[in-house]
């Protein structure tokens, strides 16, 4: 039972969104159309929220859970940003032209890639599939608002029966955008490029080797919500994977991967006026990892066992140039923090009867985390923490999810999960990390306890041949919630900061997520989708709402196919941030209406295809502030984006 959610029917491959998954999955990049950046793409999704600090590098949020509470897996690799100020979420190093799929995993599935309270973002890269001897795609686009250029190129070549390679590159350069009042939003410019090489080598009919090498370089990226911009953000990632299918035998499928990624992040304040102090703030994140996963299928069970390891190293420091001609100052913000993690994950999908399936997942993770730098340790002595070795943490999760099919049109899911996650590097050892949103300097607390959550999930879906409607709810009860608590005894370091917060475990926090979704296929040419979300959260100890709770937001999408012209109309309405977490820097925002329209028209050429595309985003030129935007930075006003893409 399929309802096309969005189609690009002019392609020989029609992209369909399968609604057999209860949550509308939206996770395939529209085939060969890489017009959107990963940021835009995440922003439009129903199952993901983003935090904006400017025009680039949006931070993903899953149902109010952020950063250390969610996991990010890029092509099976754990990737940790190299910025102490979260300027470079791992997703900022992605390009749609490389991506086969970007999924948001929730409930059971999310635990396979990391101990995650809120879910996992899983990016799967495109590998050559050896189905065509050569394919080349080129796309260029121009954005009127930011005088922006987006271009991408890919070449996929099958070299032999066994071996194929794919290169893809992307380049983007945008000036600062103007908001809905036609005023320039300074420091929203960005530039980036990406080169990715993937390869598939079939060892036999059942075995293959894959390899990936990706280099991404962001330059001159503005962050209007922060005190600094980014001069350079470089990521180098590589991995080698092995897959084997077994026709018979105890296991059916084996997959293994080894990987390494290296991220270098350099902040820059040289373009800012009235800076209290000029600083150099470089950051480094290196992750080495490997995993093996095996699957076994029996009549009633689908079992997966995965073992993974990663070792992550973080370093960041700060050199401050005295504006008064005094001696320059230096401190470490991440003093060589090393985390070695070993995890095993067991998952079972058990068909109890034709209508009832039980999914269980058990994850156990052991990690050792150390602050290795002697100076870094000395700094923490000023907080009366004397570190002389690594700390060990045991974390993990257990979840059970029942899927029940009442009849051919009603499906329901009920799940319960318990997750215990260890504190992140910044939460443990961060040293005077300035949060520009609540304007506090944050200090890590080396003896933090794990944050624990019990979540209940419920989904109900009713569907008929051409339409469906459903709802999903989640309630989470968090114990030892990790949050910054004001410490009056400490002086802030950053000029303009309001004070110092130290990360603490506080009792009791709760959050809820509620969404309604519906889809109708009026005809083969016309279909409509709706998604409504409302979230709530409260931190008892701070007497404050929890940050990043989505206020009531409705997203509508209408897709229409007229002859060869594909058009889509997107309308989003949000009541705006009504109960901001002021304690954590959020502010009220106004309701807004957002309308986007997109058109795509194919032109047939000999042996090739040409597409003309036009998008008008924020058609009404609404002035609006995203509810999660830091420091009230307004979103982009009307932008007309035109693109030509060419595929041979």
């Amino acid at each position: 039972m399929l309802i096309p959610f969005y189609t690009t029917a002019q392609d020989k491959k029609i992209t369909t969104y399968h609604l057999s998954e209860v949550t509308i999955s939206h996770d395939t990049i529209p085939s060969e159309n890489y017009l959107l950046s990963v940021d835009d793409y995440m922003n439009q999704r129903n199952d993901l929220q983003v935090v904006k600090r400017g025009g680039f590098a949006f931070e993903p949020i899953i149902e109010g859970f952020t950063d250390g509470q969610i996991a990010v897996s890029i092509d099976g690799m754990r990737v940790f940003g190299a910025c102490t100020d979260k300027m470079d979420p791992a997703t900022s190093y992605l390009e749609p032209v490389n991506l086969k799929k970007l999924s948001v995993l929730k409930e059971n599935e999310s635990q396979m890639y990391g101990t995650a309270l809120g879910g996992t973002i899983m990016a799967e890269m495109r590998y050559p599939d050896l189905s065509k001897s050569l394919e080349v795609g080129v796309q260029t686009a121009y954005s009127s608002n930011s005088n922006g250029f987006d271009g991408n190129l890919y070449v996929e070549k099958t070299i032999s029966d066994q071996w194929g390679i794919r290169y893809s590159g992307a380049y983007r350069k945008h000036d600062s955008y103007t908001d809905g009042n036609n005023e320039l939003v300074k420091y929203t410019q960005y530039e980036k490029m990406n080169h990715t090489l993937t390869s598939t080598y079939k060892l036999s009919t059942t075995e293959k080797l894959t390899a990936l090498l990706m280099y991404d370089h962001g330059m001159d990226i503005g962050y209007p919500a922060l005190n600094m911009d980014v001069g350079s953000a470089k990521a180098l990632m590589g991995n080698i994977g092995y897959t084997k299918h077994y026709d018979k035998g105890f296991i059916n499928h084996l997959e293994a991967k080894v990987y390494y990624n290296d991220i270098k992040h350099v902040m820059d304040d040289s373009k800012r006026e009235n800076v209290a102090i000029r600083m150099d703030m470089p950051g480094l994140s290196q992750t080495l990892g490997a995993w093996v996963s095996v699957n076994r299928k029996t009549n009633n069970h689908k079992l997966t066992l995965k073992g993974d390891f990663y070792s992550n190293h973080l370093f960041a420091d700060m050199t401050m140039y005295s504006p008064s001609g005094g001696v320059n100052m230096y401190m470490l913000t991440w003093g060589d923090i090393r985390r070695n993690s070993f995890a095993t994950n067991f998952q079972d999908e058990w068909k109890l009867d034709p209508r009832l399936t039980l999914l269980t997942n058990l994850r156990l993770e052991w990690a050792s985390t150390n602050l290795q730098n002697e100076l870094g340790r000395k700094q923490l002595e000023t907080m009366n923490y004397f570190i002389d070795g690594p700390r060990s943490d045991l974390s993990g999760s257990f979840s059970a999810l029942f899927k029940y099919k009442l009849n051919s049109s009603i499906e329901s899911k009920f799940g319960i999960s318990y997750t215990s996650r260890m504190p992140s590097a910044s939460e443990l050892y961060g040293f005077y990390l300035f949060n520009a949103n609540d304007r506090f300097d944050y200090l890590g607390t080396p003896d933090l306890k794990n944050e624990k959550v019990i979540s209940f999930d419920f989904t109900l879906r009713y569907h008929q041949e051409n339409w469906q409607i459903g709802a999903r709810g989640r309630a989470s009860f968090i114990k030892d919630y990790i949050v910054g608590v004001v410490n009056e005894n400490y002086d802030s370091m950053t000029s303009g900061a309001l004070g110092v917060k130290t990360y603490q475990n506080v009792e009791g926090a709760t959050s809820t997520h509620f969404e309604v979704f519906a889809g109708v296929a009026f005809s083969k040419q016309l279909n409509y989708n709706l998604n409504l979300v409302h979230e709530n959260g409260y931190i008892d100890a701070l007497h404050s709402p929890m940050p990043y709770q989505r206020p009531l937001t409705i997203k509508n999408k209408l897709s229409y196919q007229l002859q060869k012209l594909t058009s889509s109309f997107y309308y989003e309405y949000s009541v705006g941030m009504q109960s901001p977490s002021e304690a954590l820097g959020e502010q009220k925002t106004d309701p807004y209406h957002l309308v986007n329209v997109d058109f795509s028209y194919p032109v047939k050429l000999k042996n090739s295809r040409l597409y003309l595309e036009l998008g008008v985003h924020n058609l009404l030129n609404s002035y609006y502030i995203d509810p999660f935007s830091w420091n009230g930075i307004p979103n982009s006003g009307r932008n007309i984006k035109t693109s030509i893409r060419f595929i041979i």
């Binding site: 209290a276 102090i277 700060m318 401050m320 005295s322 504006p323 008064s324 001609g325 005094g326 001696v327 320059n328 100052m329 230096y330 401190m331 100076l375 340790r377 000395k378 700094q379 002595e381 000023t382 907080m383 009366n384 040293f431 005077y432 005894n489 400490y490 002086d491 802030s492 370091m493 000029s495």
Partner: protein, 293 residues
């Protein structure tokens, strides 16, 4: 424990040797740097001035005098006298400077002590260190070191940022003198134990002779001070302190030990509020210790 010497009239210090006649030579703690070596006036004994730093400087210096070659007779006493010779209008004016320590003296070495140089060597003024070894009040050897005391200069130009704090003590001619010494040698990021040396300077009793000889001021260690301290970064871009500091408290004659936490490198003040009973000599708005690293 032997009394810490205070410079009296002529600022002469006497240290008796340890009356330890065991055959095993007591291990002398030797400071890292040899600053200067001198033969005594009779050209018999060589004495080396050693210091924990490569150069002597304004403020507190950890020093020791160690003999080389011929051994001095046992059971004697050491005398130390630092002197600043200043040329003023054709006349030589002299003053001294406070010190303490030199407890572990024997016939090989004076033991480690601390000299708080109130000022550096300047164009019109030079320092000497006069050292004698006496046996039953009889001088066995006399040495004179001509030494260079470096000025400590800071990038920050604030006249209240000090290596040596000097403030008047109420009425009269008495002055509170304080210097600091980081136990680890240099200040560093993190937790720093530091010593504050505190003396009362009393003017020489005899004024007006002007013969440049004999009448030096005296320094008395102060043992009853209450010191409240605030490490602070005065750079206008910083303007903050640090957490979890410990005020200096009395540990021995003229010496107080505290903890200063430096959360980053840079220029740090240790602002102090110093009082003795009812009398407050210094507040945090006044002079402060200062260091750049």
């Amino acid at each position: 424990m032997k009394n810490i010497f205070l410079a009296l009239f002529l600022s002469i210090v006497l240290f008796a040797c340890n009356e330890d006649n065991s055959s095993i030579e007591p291990e002398q703690p030797i400071l890292e740097y040899a600053i200067a070596s001198e033969k005594d006036e009779a050209n018999t004994y060589t004495l080396t001035l050693r210091s924990s730093k490569a150069n002597l400087h304004e403020g507190v210096n950890n020093v020791a005098f160690v003999t080389e070659g011929d051994t001095l007779p046992e059971g004697g006493e050491w005398k130390i006298l630092p002197k600043m010779h200043m040329q003023m209008e054709g006349m030589t004016h002299m003053h001294s400077t406070p010190f303490l320590g030199f407890d572990e003296a024997d016939n090989h070495a004076s033991g480690i002590g601390q000299i708080l140089f109130l000022m550096p060597t300047v164009e019109m003024g030079s320092w000497t260190l006069e050292v004698s070894y006496l046996l039953e009040d009889e001088s066995i050897a006399d040495w004179t070191f001509e030494i260079q005391v470096d000025a400590i200069e800071f990038l920050a130009q604030d006249p209240t940022f000090k290596t040596v704090v000097r403030v008047p003590m109420g009425d009269g001619d008495e002055t509170l003198i304080m210097g600091y010494n980081f136990t680890a040698g240099e200040p560093a990021m993190g937790r720093n134990e530091y010593e504050v040396l505190a003396f009362k300077r009393m003017q020489a009793m005899d004024h007006g002779h002007g013969d440049g000889h004999g009448h030096l001021e005296t320094y008395m260690p102060l043992n009853d001070l209450t010191i409240k301290s605030t490490p602070f970064m005065p750079d206008p871009s910083m303007n903050h302190g640090s957490p979890n500091n410990t005020d200096p408290s009395f540990v021995s004659e003229g010496k107080y030990v505290g903890i200063a936490n430096f959360t980053m490198t840079g220029g740090w003040q240790i602002k102090m509020n110093v009082s003795e009973g009812e009398n407050t000599y210094l507040t945090e708005e006044g002079q402060s210790f200062y260091t750049e690293f």
